[in-house]
Amino acid sequence: MPVEMSSRRSSRITDEEISELISKLQSLLPESRRRSMSRASAAKLLKETCSYIKSLHREVGDLSDRLSDLMSTMDSGSPQAEIIRSILRS
């Protein structure tokens, strides 16, 4: 299987890709972040996207913590266990 040398060349973003990126990513970011970026540059937008992804990662970590607390006090007779069983049955 030939090594994909072309991907090294094409890892640079072209200008059309940049403008596509701007419009699509802008629509993706939550309202609060969009408002402060009236003249969004590609670099700013990429930075916002990166920090948005990082904040979503942090939220998942935090929710895992809280679920962990709840699961630790769960036994097979608890209502949480029943909820789990009913979802798995569906």
Binding site: M1, E4, S7, R8, S10, S11, R12, I13, T14, E17, I18, E20, L21, K24, L25, L28, S41, A42, A43, L46, K47, T49, C50, Y52, I53, K54, L56, H57, E59, V60, G61, L63, S64, D65, R66, L67, S68, L70, M71, S72, M74, D75, S76, S78, P79, Q80, A81, E82, I83, I84, I87, L88, S90
Partner: protein, 195 residues
């Protein structure tokens, strides 16, 4: 990408199966171990519910790099595990590219004059792109247009993951409160009757 009812259902079911497989309700489990097992189940569930994408394969490949995850992944994914790891070029990193970018960044900063704003902007885009590539699973080996598509898809999936975990948490907490209040009622009745 649309967050459909089918996606939500597949995610929840897959995550709960993962909880069962790693026995997260075992009382003797340490906090960190339980938390890691929950997060692992949530990530695998997100990848499975989404289906085959560059980022989902990248995510599974990344999780697979840690030895302690492998038996869980094999158990939970079954045959899918082998096929998800197969296209090896998806996980092919381009370490040299980073060095080249860093070197060219240093050169560009040294050459900074007033009218270099075009070069600066392009360099900054390259730098941010590299950061985005590190954040999106499998991003290191993606080209510009793939990275765009995969980023959008990944962010939408992450948002769904957050929402679904939150709703599960809320459901659990609500059921816990309900069961506590139910237990108290019979006692109150008894004291009223005795009066």
């Amino acid at each position: 990408m649309q967050v459909t009812e089918a996606f939500k259902h597949a995610f929840l079911k897959q995550m709960l199966l993962g909880f069962q497989a790693s026995a997260v309700s075992t009382k003797s489990m340490g906090f960190q171990e339980r938390k890691n097992a929950i997060k692992l189940s949530a990530d695998v569930a997100m990848a499975v519910a989404r289906g085959s994408r560059k980022w989902t394969r990248g995510l599974i490949a990344g999780l697979s790099e840690e030895r302690q995850n492998r038996s869980f992944l094999r158990l939970i994914l079954g045959e899918q595990y082998e096929s998800l790891l197969k296209p090896c070029h998806s996980s092919w990193k381009i370490p040299r590219c980073k060095k080249i970018v860093r070197r060219s960044l240093r050169v560009c900063w040294r050459k900074q004059k007033k009218n270099q704003s075009g070069v600066l902007a392009r360099t900054l885009v390259e730098k941010r792109t590299q950061e985005l590539k590190r954040l999106v699973p499998g991003g290191e080996s993606m080209d510009g247009s793939s990275l765009l598509d995969e980023t959008l898809d990944y962010v939408l999936s992450l948002r769904a993951q957050v929402d679904l975990m939150q709703s599960l948490l809320t459901t659990f907490e609500a059921s816990k409160l309900r069961s506590h209040s139910k237990r108290r009622l019979p006692e109150r009745k008894a004291s009223y009757v005795s009066k």
